[in-house]
Symmetry: C2
Subunit: 224 residues, 2 copies
């Protein structure tokens, strides 16, 4: 019988690598994206294309009115996405409880499709100070998930898998390339324009750029 | 300084009592409802009206495409909401990971408005077999919440409060009436019709009806 996994999937560098890893481990993959009011909505078109290229079982885009309650630069038109600064503060792009909301919906879908594994491309090396990208957090979520659900209490335990957690961007890129990921198709920028070109200056672009340099791999990203 | 609380709020008997309790404890209340594809969408109109009557600080309705991934009788047009049967199985109205998703979004909003308390009308007496209405689950969520968020890791701890958890419907109703709740304005039915009349036969109606009988209070619910 096939193993199924739900993959939180934005079509960016990390989640695409995460999807490739899940596939390489023999999972049938259910990719999950969110239309949560992000200004860089082009990522949803990119995610659709990349999910299809990678041969997922299903790709769902769940709409989610996070913009209504949020105070993040990623959703609020009144707050600009800043250039990378290099300080260690939690950035304005932080969306309150975003991974918790995303993982919660992934958990619901996992229960519906009968998946026991949920993959998230969280990373706490280049993690930009997000509290919900740390192993203590992910372990606490997993514990909660197994108490939250019909399947969990019936003993079909859920596992939250974050295979990129301890990897540098260099290592993530090297891992992805060894698995055949075509990064030219992926998009990581918080300020991507309407055709999916990247700014090259936000936190996300900065970490990605540095990763390609350190991996010694030509950066296939198209910048505007 | 005022204390703020986010209240998961459907405009039903339990969540309205929960809101009344939070107010009686001196909280400024931020009521949160969800448009999650429920067939009984009239509850959102009822929720608006009840929230206004109860004098909340804000009432938000967050839209959430749970119907896309769900297999619940509450959202799927192909699955009927059944009459109450009295067995102890998890019913078809179970929405996978619903409370986890709702609490996760409540947590995000709590962080934005600066609330440290989140109220949920969960109950494990008449709880219809929902795994996410048990204290072990709620404690695990609270632990996770304090690792998930900027405010949590800065030491402003979140508390998940479920003041109805151990109360019978009779006790909930008596508590609400002592706080002045007008239950004629509330709606609990899973099959409510377009003008907000209740079916009187689903699980939710059955527990509610029984509660009024046991409390010795005339049932103000309008049935179709």
């Amino acid at each position: 019988m096939s193993k199924k996994a739900v993959i939180l999937f934005s079509g960016g560098l990390d989640s695409t690598t995460c999807l490739a890893l899940a596939k390489s481990q023999g999972f049938d993959c259910y990719a999950l994206s969110f239309d949560y009011g992000q200004k860089h909505r082009i990522e949803l078109e990119i995610a659709k294309r990349v999910a299809a290229l990678m041969g997922v079982e299903q790709h769902k885009i769940v709409s989610l009115g996070l913009g209504d309650i949020s105070g993040s630069a990623l959703t609020d038109e009144k707050i600009a996405v800043a250039d990378y600064t290099g300080d260690n503060n939690i950035p304005a792009t932080y969306v309150p409880a975003r991974n918790t909301v995303f993982l919660a919906i992934a958990l619901g879908w996992a229960e519906v499709v009968g998946a026991s594994d949920i993959f998230i491309g969280a990373n706490d090396v280049d993690y930009s100070g997000y509290p919900d990208c740390r192993s203590e957090y992910l372990e606490a979520f997993e514990k909660m998930a197994n108490l939250a659900t019909k399947a969990g209490i019936e003993g079909n335990c859920y596992a939250i898998r974050a295979p990129l957690l301890r990897l540098t961007k260099r290592e993530i890129i090297q891992r992805g390339i060894s698995l055949g990921v075509d990064y030219s198709q992926t998009l990581s920028c918080y300020r991507a324009n309407q055709v999916g070109l990247a700014c090259g200056k936000c936190d996300s672009c900065t970490y990605r750029k540095k990763g390609f340099i350190e991996a010694g791999v030509p950066d296939p990203t198209l910048y505007f």
